[in-house]
C-alpha cells in the first residue's frame, strides 16, 4: 500500500517537473538569447551561448543607448505601476466593500455596470478616450495626457472593474458578524473597514496586486496612446519597441531589455508569496 503510494508520488513529482520544464522553455530562450549577438540569435536561437560575457555587454548597451532612455523609462514605469496599484487596491476594495454591505438597488446596479464594462473591447474606447482625456484635462486644468498622474487615473478606471469584481466575491464570504461586533463597539463605518475588513483581505489583495501589476508593467497600447512614443514620460514596453524597426530588429537588445523588465516582477512575486502564506496563517489564528 505505502509502496504503491510512494511510486505514484514519485511519478507525480516527475510529471510536475516535466510540466515545469515545458513552462520554462520559452523563458529559457529569452535568457539564452540575451547572451548572444543579433546575428547569433537569428542564425541559431536554440544553441547555448558561446560567451556569457555578452549578457552584461548587452545590458550595458541598453543602458548606455543615447536615444532610448531605458533607465528613465524604467523609473517612469515603476512610478506609474506603483501609484496605480496603490489607488486600485485602496479604492477598489473600499468600493467593493461598500457595494457588498449596501443592500439597496443602486449598489446592485452599480456592481452590474462595473462587471458589464469588463467586456468592452479596448479598441472601442481608444480613440474616443484620448479625445475625451484632452477635453477633460482642458476643462479641469489638469494635464492628463503625457503625464504620470494621467496614466494613474486611467489605470484606476481600467483596473477597478476587475479588482472590484474580485474583492466583491471575496468580501461576500467574510462573516458579517465580525463587522457587526465592531460597529457595536462604537467603531465608525470607515474605521470598521480599515481596521477589521481590510486586514482580512490580505491574500486577495496580493492576487489583485499581481494581476494588475503585471498588466500595467507590460501594457503597451494605453501608454502609447496617452504618452506618445518618445515624450517626456515613457514606459518600458515603449522603450523596447525603439529597438525594433519595421525591417531591422535588434533582437539582442530587445530580448535583453525584456529580461531586465521581467526581473523585478519575478523578484517581487517570489517575495510576495511569503505574504500570501502568512496572511493565511494569521487568518487561521483569528
Amino acid at each position: 500500500m505505502t509502496r504503491v503510494h510512494r511510486g505514484a508520488r514519485v511519478l507525480a513529482e516527475l510529471a510536475v517537473v516535466a510540466l515545469f520544464a515545458l513552462f520554462m522553455i520559452p523563458f529559457a530562450m529569452v535568457v539564452l538569447n540575451s547572451a548572444k549577438t543579433a546575428q547569433g540569435i537569428i542564425f541559431d536561437p536554440l544553441s547555448w551561448p558561446t560567451d556569457w560575457g555578452r549578457l552584461p555587454r548587452n545590458i550595458g548597451l541598453i543602458f548606455s543607448n543615447s536615444t532610448v532612455r531605458y533607465a528613465g523609462a524604467f523609473l517612469d514605469s515603476a512610478l506609474i505601476t506603483f501609484f496605480s496599484l496603490v489607488v486600485i487596491v485602496l479604492f477598489s476594495s473600499m468600493c467593493a466593500w461598500a457595494l457588498v454591505r449596501t443592500r439597496k438597488a443602486w449598489a446592485t446596479i452599480l456592481f452590474f455596470v462595473f462587471v458589464a464594462a469588463m467586456v468592452i473591447p479596448f479598441q472601442v474606447l481608444m480613440f474616443p478616450l484620448v479625445r475625451w482625456m484632452r477635453i477633460l484635462g482642458d476643462f479641469l486644468h489638469v494635464r492628463l495626457l503625457q503625464s504620470i498622474p494621467g496614466m494613474v487615473f486611467a489605470y484606476l478606471g481600467f483596473g477597478c472593474p476587475l479588482s472590484i469584481f474580485i474583492f466583491h466575491g471575496f468580501i461576500k464570504n467574510i462573516p458579517y458578524e465580525l463587522e457587526e461586533s465592531a460597529t457595536i463597539d462604537g467603531c465608525g463605518q470607515a474605521r470598521t473597514f480599515f481596521e477589521i475588513v481590510f486586514p482580512l483581505l490580505q491574500p486577495i489583495i496580493i492576487t489583485v496586486l499581481i494581476l494588475n501589476g503585471i498588466w500595467i508593467w507590460n501594457d503597451y497600447l494605453l501608454p502609447l496612446l496617452m504618452l506618445g512614443s518618445s515624450g517626456a514620460v515613457q514606459t518600458i514596453p515603449i522603450a523596447v519597441t525603439a529597438f525594433a524597426g519595421a525591417y531591422l530588429k535588434q533582437w539582442d537588445l530587445i530580448l535583453t531589455s525584456t529580461l531586465i523588465a521581467m526581473l523585478p516582477v519575478i523578484v517581487l512575486y517570489l517575495f510576495a508569496q511569503r505574504y500570501i502564506i502568512r496572511g493565511m496563517i494569521e487568518g487561521a489564528i483569528k
Binding site: V30, V87, P121, C160, I164, I204
Partner: protein
C-alpha cells in the same frame, strides 16, 4: 444610519469617477461615432444611423472572424481553466519546492508583446518541424501555424501556456480559503483524492469558478495581442468562396478595419463584439450563480 450611507457613497466615489471618465464616457462617445461617417480625424461628422451595422454582416471576413472567435473562446476557456485548476491543485499539495513551481507556472505571464510572438513563432515554425523530421513524424513537419485547421488550437495552446498560471492564482486563493480540516476529515472517512477534489473542493470554490470562467471568457473573446504577434491572422483560407484569414479574431478584424481608415465601421464592429460578449457572459454568470446557490 444616514451617516453610514454617506460613508458608503464616499467609498464608492473614486472608482465611479475614474470609471465614468475613462470607460463610460468614451464608450458612449464611441457608440455615437459608430453611427457616423467619422474617419478618426475629421472634426465634423455626418450621422448615418445603422448603415455600418448592416454592412458588416455581409462581409465573409467579418462573419468568419466572429465564428473563429467563438471557436477559439470555447477551446480556450476549457483549456485554460482545466490547466489552471490542475496547476493550482499541484502547487497547493504537499510538494517539495511548491513555491518555486508556483513562480515557474506563473512566469509565462511575464513575457509579453513582440517577444512572445517571436519565441513561439520560432518554436512552431522551426523547432517543432525539426523535431518532426528527426523523429520522422509527418504530422509535426508542417508548422501548426500554417494550417487553417490547427492554427486556432495552436493559439489556444500558447494562450493556455500564458494564462494558466494567472488563473491558477485565483484558484490558489480560493483553495487556501477552504479550511484544511474539511479535506482532512474526508480523508479520514476514506474518500479518495479525486473524490475529495470533486465533491468537497470544487463545490466549495464555486465562486472562484464564476470569476475565472468570466475572466477567461471575456479575455478570449477580446483576444488581440497574441493573435497579432503570433499568427497575425494567417494563414489564409476559403470561406463563403472568398479568401479570408483563418485565425483573424474579432478584435484583430476591428483593428485592421480601423487601420484601413474605416473608423466608424470599426466602431460598429466593436459594438457588435460588445453585444455578443454581454449576451454570452450574462448566460455564463447566471448559470454559475445558480450553481453557487445550489451548493
Amino acid at each position: 444610519m444616514r451617516r453610514q450611507s454617506l460613508v458608503k457613497v464616499l467609498f464608492v466615489l473614486p472608482c465611479v469617477f475614474a470609471f465614468t471618465m475613462v470607460i463610460l464616457v468614451p464608450f458612449f462617445y464611441g457608440l455615437f461615432f459608430s453611427m457616423t461617417n467619422w474617419n478618426g480625424v475629421s472634426e465634423t461628422t455626418k450621422f448615418v444611423g445603422f448603415l455600418h451595422f448592416g454592412k458588416v454582416f455581409t462581409q465573409p471576413a467579418f462573419i468568419h472572424a466572429f465564428l473563429a472567435s467563438a471557436a477559439y473562446t470555447a477551446i480556450n476557456v476549457t483549456l485554460v481553466n482545466a490547466a489552471g485548476f490542475a496547476l493550482a491543485l499541484v502547487v497547493t499539495g504537499n510538494l517539495r519546492f511548491r513555491n518555486f513551481y508556483r513562480a515557474g507556472f506563473f512566469a509565462p505571464y511575464l513575457i509579453g508583446g513582440i517577444v512572445l510572438g517571436y519565441i513561439w513563432q520560432f518554436l512552431f515554425n522551426s523547432a517543432i518541424p525539426a523535431l518532426g523530421k528527426a523523429l520522422s513524424i509527418e504530422a509535426l513537419q508542417v508548422s501548426f501555424l500554417s494550417r487553417a485547421d490547427s492554427v486556432i488550437w495552436a493559439m489556444s495552446f500558447v494562450n493556455t501556456w500564458q494564462y494558466a498560471g494567472y488563473i491558477m492564482l485565483i484558484f490558489i486563493a480560493a483553495i487556501q480559503a477552504i479550511p484544511a480540516s474539511l479535506m482532512e476529515a474526508a480523508k479520514v472517512d476514506g474518500a479518495g483524492y479525486f473524490r475529495r477534489v470533486f465533491h468537497i473542493l470544487m463545490p466549495m470554490m464555486a465562486n472562484a469558478f464564476t470569476i475565472s470562467l468570466f475572466l477567461t471568457l471575456t479575455t478570449s473573446f477580446k483576444q488581440f495581442d497574441m493573435n497579432f504577434t503570433l499568427t497575425n491572422g494567417g494563414p489564409a483560407t476559403r470561406f463563403l468562396d472568398q479568401p479570408v484569414m483563418a485565425s483573424q479574431l474579432l478584435a484583430m478584424d476591428i483593428f485592421n478595419t480601423a487601420k484601413a481608415n474605416r473608423m466608424a465601421e470599426a466602431q460598429a464592429k466593436a459594438v457588435v463584439l460588445f453585444v455578443a460578449l454581454v449576451a454570452v457572459s450574462l448566460a455564463q454568470v447566471s448559470i454559475n450563480k445558480k450553481k453557487e446557490v445550489e451548493q
